[in-house]
Every structure is written in C-alpha cells, then in structure tokens.
Symmetry: C2
Subunit: 262 residues, 2 copies
Amino acid sequence: MDENITSANGASLSIAIIGITGIGEITAGHDLGLTIYEKAMAQGTPVQDGDIIVVTQKAVSKSEGMIVDLDTITPSPFALGISKTLNKDPRLVEVVLREASRIVKMDNGVIITQTHHGFVCANSGVDASNVPGSSSVTLLPRDPDASAARIRARIQDLSGRRVAVIVSDTFGRPWRMGIVNVAIGVSGLEPIADLRGSADAFGKTLKATEIAVADEIASAAELVTGKTRGIPVVIVRGYPWSFSETGSSKSLIRPKESDLFR
Amino acid sequence: MDENITSANGASLSIAIIGITGIGEITAGHDLGLTIYEKAMAQGTPVQDGDIIVVTQKAVSKSEGMIVDLDTITPSPFALGISKTLNKDPRLVEVVLREASRIVKMDNGVIITQTHHGFVCANSGVDASNVPGSSSVTLLPRDPDASAARIRARIQDLSGRRVAVIVSDTFGRPWRMGIVNVAIGVSGLEPIADLRGSADAFGKTLKATEIAVADEIASAAELVTGKTRGIPVVIVRGYPWSFSETGSSKSLIRPKESDLFR
C-alpha cells in the first residue's frame, strides 16, 4: 500500500486504523496515557504527529474508577416501579436514573435518557459488558472531554508528538437498526468539520454540510476494537485534520430547540 | 505500519482505508465496476480478496442516470404551499415528495421523509451538491442493494477476487449535530454484526449487541472521500468479515413498531 497517495489538493487519501494490543485489564488509577504510549511503541507503531487516538469509554471509565457494584444500591420506589414495567434489575434502573438529567422515552423495555453531560442514549450509558464481577456496571466518565485531555497531555509529554484523543462509546439511534460508535469525549480537534461555504467538485457552494468527523472516526475505530477482542485503543493515522484546543464533544450535542425528535 | 498485527483470536488489528484517485466525472451508463478495477490497479493498490469497496451514492446515482433537472418539474399545489413554509424551491419540494412514501416530520425548514426504500432521511435523499448544472439534483438509486450487487459482480469478474460493496450516503440524525455516512446499499456482507450470545473479554454473554458495521464502514470511508475531494470510491482493507449473499441494507432499517421516535 502506497501511503503517499494524495489528491490534487494534497489531502491524504489513505488512512490506517491500528489496534494497540497488550493493554490488558484496566483498574482504577491506571495511567492510560503511559500504557498507550508504551504499547504502541512495543508493537512497532509508535505514536506519530497527527495521530488521533481513540480510547473506548469502558477503558476510560475503569481507569477513573467509574464502576458501581449494584449490590451497594438501594432502588427508590420509583426505580422499583418502573423496573417491573421494563423487566430490568431495579438496582440498575436506580443507577440509570441517577445518571440522567431527563427521561426522553421509556418503552419496549428500554430507557432513553439525557445524561448529565447532555448525551441522549440508552440507560444513561450505564453498561455491564466487559466489566469484571457479575454485579458491576460502568458509568460514563464525569467529564469525557477532560478525560480525553488528560490522556492526550500524557501521551504528548511522553512522546513529544502532537496528537488528538477521542473517547468513544456505542450508542443506538432512531430509524436505523444496530448500534454504532460515537465520540463522547474530544481533545485536540474539532468534532464537526464545517464545510458550509466551501465549494464542491463543481465549484458550487455547499449549503448545509457539517460532517460529524469525530463520530465517523469513532465508528472507524470500532471496526478494530470490536466488543470481544480486548483492544480498547486504536490509532487513526493519516486523516487530515487541524489542531484545536477548543474542540469539545459539546459541539456534537444537538440543542433541544433544533431537535425535532426529542 | 505492520499489517500483520493480529489479536489472540487471530482477528486483524489493522485496517486501511484507501482512496481511489483518478475516477473523474461520472455520467449515465458509466461502467463503475470497470473504472474502480482499473483505477485501483493504476495507483498500485489492486483489488484484493476480502476488500470492502465503498462507493458514494452520488457516483452510483450519476452512473444510473438518477438525475432530475428541476426546470422540467411542475410543482403540485401541495408542493407550492409547503415550499413557502419551508422556504425551499417548490420544484425541489415536488421531487422530494415524489421520492417519499411518508413525511416523518416537517419543521425548521427541513423535510424528513421515509423514502420508497424505507430510509428515513432529509429531503428523501434528493441532493444538489456535486452535481453538474445549476438546476440538477440526484435521486437515490432505485434499488441500492442491486446497484451494489452489480458493481460487485463486475469487479469480481474482472479481478477474480471476492469482495463486498457498500453504497454510502450522508444522513443526519436526531440528538446529535452533524451528518455521518451510512450504508444505503450492501452486497456480499451482513450489514449488522450480531454479537448476541457471544462472550465479552470476561466471558460474560453479551445481551444486546448488534453492531451496524456497514454504517461504521461507510463512516470510515467518508474520512477519505470527503465532500470536496472528488474521490467517490475507497477500499476498506483488513476488516475481518464473512461473505454473505443474503446481506441487504434492509436489515439496517428499523421497523416502525420498534422505533420509539417516528
């Protein structure tokens, strides 16, 4: 593969999605940035300038100790009530409610909430897969942009390379079957590429083209991380992007007033 | 980059997204399969067994002559009426309505419809960007799975390699800002990877994990095709998947009865 193929305008036309192996189980206090730096080096793909490093929510939440043992949870009367309707563990429902700022929809055995961060997703992002222990669940990081920024700073300090970091999670969506990975935390890049005002291949001005590139990068990364492979981190290499210290996952949250489906 | 890095279970851990350059403008009757085969070879990245080839809707629609000149369209009284409310070209509204089986929502200057195929999207997928001529728009292919199958058969015949083909388009979504690429046509692979019943990294059975991998592959491809680069085709290489002659984009359409947001 010729990694130097470029278009007329110099944009890179080949992107690599590289899984980082050997990271192993992550516990509270784990220095994820250090591990990513070391394991990328160990497998012969050291971090380079312009890499976008995608880390799964599960890995970040574990490293931040965002794990709850359901055995320690006493469900409220409300949680007890709706857990019967939904046929869910009432302790899980209690945790989901605590992580929610609003219930968007509750039907067909699912709870769609808006989280304290503003994300609209199933179960407030509370998740039992890939967590050790039969009664443990992970919560989303308290501030996923800050998580991304910390991991990014650590990798940049260790490597001397400028990178971006995305924290990814797997969300469902209306209208389409299946779940896809999206960005819930961002540091170093703008999550939306705003092409409004730029010209298409015929010189016509594009009217409404804001691409959620951070979500597309998270989805691309999922093709390597999967759910059953034990690979929580990938490097996306070769995508042309620009550094931004103000990029935030908040840009990906649709304001309620422009959302026809909330 | 070591393309041979693999996980414990042998899954490939490095994926390449390779843009195919030099395809140029596509007109009705264009033999897309032949062009893809030739141009991939010409740039030194010939098609290989297991490649997934992603082709943008725009390229497919043009090759199938799915272009409408708005100057030939007479809007109905209904189209005239709502075009004023929405502040849109009444001829465009007329075409959007003809491509729709149902209007899902109409507000804030946008029309969300369900197309005859079943896709829920803005403007029935009718699009004016990257189309030559100031009054021309493209429609979605009549049967995007059949389009993917034709392109796939042609590439397989020419190359002797087994591949899959995805036709991608850019759709908005509720709750999140920005648009992302999704799969509207599929041939050769199952668009949903159903992990229900398989075990996570701790051996716990995953309960509800159906990943829309075709959408994730389409999103990954968009990182290379972009909107302004004139690259309508990419090869996704190294993703582990299995051949399926029954894979269809219909699996990606959420049935109305399981959709809480329609």
